[in-house]
């Protein structure tokens, strides 16, 4: 998995590319988010558009990141969920936990709301 972090109006937008699966991206996701949090970032938007595969381990890390950011007073939201990842989050009822956006502009604005 590849990560790229952009700063957009005070929001750390993390573009993910590739797989978030056990042994290949799951721990990397956690470490990337922890780095942002340790660097003082409180508003984090994960762009999932180019994530090709996710498994239960990747979902677990996503949930762990959400909890970790929230517990430190921040917000973690998701952008551009591919349909199959949307399905995986839906069946485990996690889709109601995350704020999910289809527009980056709308997502970034939502942090100020």
């Amino acid at each position: 998995m590849k990560t790229n972090v952009r700063e957009v109006q005070g929001v750390a937008v993390m573009d993910l590319k590739g797989k978030i699966t056990i042994g290949a991206g799951d721990v990397q996701l956690r470490e990337s988010i922890n780095k942002l949090v340790e660097g003082g970032k409180k508003n984090i938007l994960i762009n999932m558009q180019d994530v090709t595969t996710i498994d239960s381990s990747g979902i677990g890390e996503l949930v762990g990141c959400y909890t970790s950011v929230t517990n430190k007073g921040g917000k973690l939201k998701l952008l551009h969920l591919p349909p199959k990842i949307n399905d995986v989050l839906t069946v485990t009822q996690l889709i109601t936990v995350f704020d999910v956006y289809e527009s980056e502009g709308e997502a970034v604005s939502s942090f100020g709301a």
Binding site: I22, S57, V88, T92
Partner: protein, 140 residues
Amino acid sequence: MTLSSRFENIEMAQHLCGKLLEGREVDDETRHWILMALREGLANAIKHGNLQNAGKRVEVEMEVTADTLRIQIRDEGTGFEPGDVADPLAPENRLKTSGRGIFYMKTFMDDVRFRRTESGGMEITLTKNLGGLKKEGSKR
């Protein structure tokens, strides 16, 4: 097929399963969810069964008949009680970082069975009915 307990081997098994399904009346959606269930079964065997001990093996058998896919995964661990696995949909478990693999297998396959092997490890049998899936446009 026999695999060492490395996560890298999951994709090889998925590739072989995909090959087995070629030429069958299986739509892309169904194929995707079958391969995800296989991934979860193998990850479970490698991580929780064999505790990522590369010296321990995971046995995988896949069989496709006219209307059924059956996958058996056996590990060399100490086994578990399927009834003791927490419900990931329960509010108190919703934000846990693990415990969804078996749920996904059950969601994406038509039948999932667990059995302790003679050596004490776990055998998971995943079954998917393939008959008429394409015509019915089944999602998963």
